[in-house]
Symmetry: C2
Subunit: 118 residues, 2 copies
């Protein structure tokens, strides 16, 4: 994690927004972003007890997924299901106070996370 | 490509910024972005004559890479090389009028594109 933070901050100019423990996954996540607030937020995940992101069929992906914020999770998921989109993880919260998240697949099978901020 | 554009525009609310032919790769790329101009630009690539992004050691990645804009390519690449970063593609242009691009690896081997806009 330290080496990655150094790469993205010193060499690419991002700055660390926050660090967070994800006890469910025995993992630490670090969010980084361009200081000008442009572009996406980059999430680095350090899994202490596994080498990769664990999700069926996605074991060997170094890149886990892209994430998009949605305003209304329930409505978005319902619309996606009507359109035949594969929902791999129905909406859930990592803990009672966190944002609602879900995972779906894009038409090529790329894993997409949806986030409804609390 | 049509199916993917529909997914990212109708279901996730992005809008198409531009479409471009990349004759070198017999490919079409489509750039999409949030209408509010927030977040990253998403690049979808349709390869007519291959299934995946072709780059040694990256054949089976559905997610190709992340891209970052840099102000001074030469300086950035020199600094990265001093730091031991693997440069997989030295700076080049797809055509004489296009931006300067290069590819490097982050500490985990994730492919990172650098772009110095013309």
């Amino acid at each position: 994690m330290d080496k990655s933070i150094e790469f993205y901050t010193k060499l690419l100019g991002l700055e660390v927004l926050s660090k967070q423990e994800i006890p469910q996954n025995n993992a630490e996540i670090v969010l980084l972003r361009d200081p000008e607030g442009k572009g996406a937020t980059l999430e680095l995940t350090f899994y202490r007890s596994q080498k990769n992101f664990i999700q069926p069929d996605y074991e060997n992906r170094l890149f886990d997924h892209l994430a998009f914020e949605v305003k209304f999770m329930e409505r978005t998921i319902a619309e996606m299901q009507r359109e035949g989109v594969t929902v791999t993880d129905e909406p859930f919260k990592l803990n009672p106070t966190s944002s609602l998240i879900a995972f779906v697949e894009d038409p090529d099978g790329t894993l997409i996370e949806l986030i409804e901020k609390k």
